[in-house]
Amino acid sequence: MAANIGRKRLVVGAHYGLRDWLAQRITAVVMAAYVMVFGVYAMFVVPPGYEAWAGLFAPLWMKVATLLAVVALIYHVWIGMREIFMDYVKPTWIRLCAYVLTILWLAACAVWSVQILWRV
């Protein structure tokens, strides 16, 4: 896909640059909101001990909210790590391996967090 921006500039490419740029910011806002609300609440409101801590994650909406934060985290981490690999890892083969391992690892983390959350 190619489109003219203004009169002169021809923009070409797959457009995932803008998509990733935007996604990184949206996921950042989601995580920041979660961390700040949850962090303050867990630190100052929830009493110490297993009962209260596990009780915090008992309602479905809390599981869903936490999982959304985890999904945002994983997408955010993928964009960030991809950027790091693109900057520092030049040999194509090693970079591809790093990409694949990162994706597999992050997907595994997502599945793991579902299991942790839904066992409570």
Binding site: R25, A28, V29, A32, V35, M43, Y50, W53, A54, F57, V77, G80, M81, I84, C109, W112, S113, I116, L117, R119, V120
Partner: protein, 137 residues
């Protein structure tokens, strides 16, 4: 044409080599940006540890007790303190980046000032986290 390419001594710019990093003085914005990347990579590497600790905290009363015992060790506390810094620094510099995206404080002086301000916010918060972690607070 009187001048050729050989006549003119053109300046040459090369990438910084790893061995030059120590001597290379980054501006405050570059330093904050580098630490943003570093703290992000650190948290990525620590992800399995954090998920494991989260798992221990929620699975059962017994695993919760195991976690409490684990957290009483000074080394684990030190690792968590480093991660607390990484999170706080990444969060504060991230908010700065979002504000810059919205063209807030984008002028050179303002941006340089906020690049120092992020440390003045994240480091005391890390100190507070450390005091809490080591049982002082």
């Amino acid at each position: 044409m009187s001048t050729t390419l050989q006549d003119k001594k053109r300046p040459e710019f090369k990438n910084i080599h790893v061995t030059q990093i120590i001597r290379y003085r980054l501006p405050a914005g570059g330093f904050a940006s580098f630490l943003h990347r570093f703290s992000g990579a650190l948290m990525f590497l620590a992800l399995p540890l954090l998920l494991w600790l989260f798992d221990l905290s929620l699975t059962s009363e017994i695993s919760y007790g195991k976690l409490s015992a684990l957290l009483s060790g000074w080394f684990v506390k030190l690792v968590l303190l480093a991660l607390a810094w990484a999170l706080l620094h990444h969060l504060v510099t991230g908010i700065r980046h979002l504000l810059l995206d919205l063209h807030v404080g984008i002028e050179k002086e303002a941006a340089a000032r906020s690049a120092l301000l992020v440390h003045l916010i994240s480091l005391p918060l890390t100190l507070a986290a450390g005091l809490k972690l080591f049982g002082v607070l």
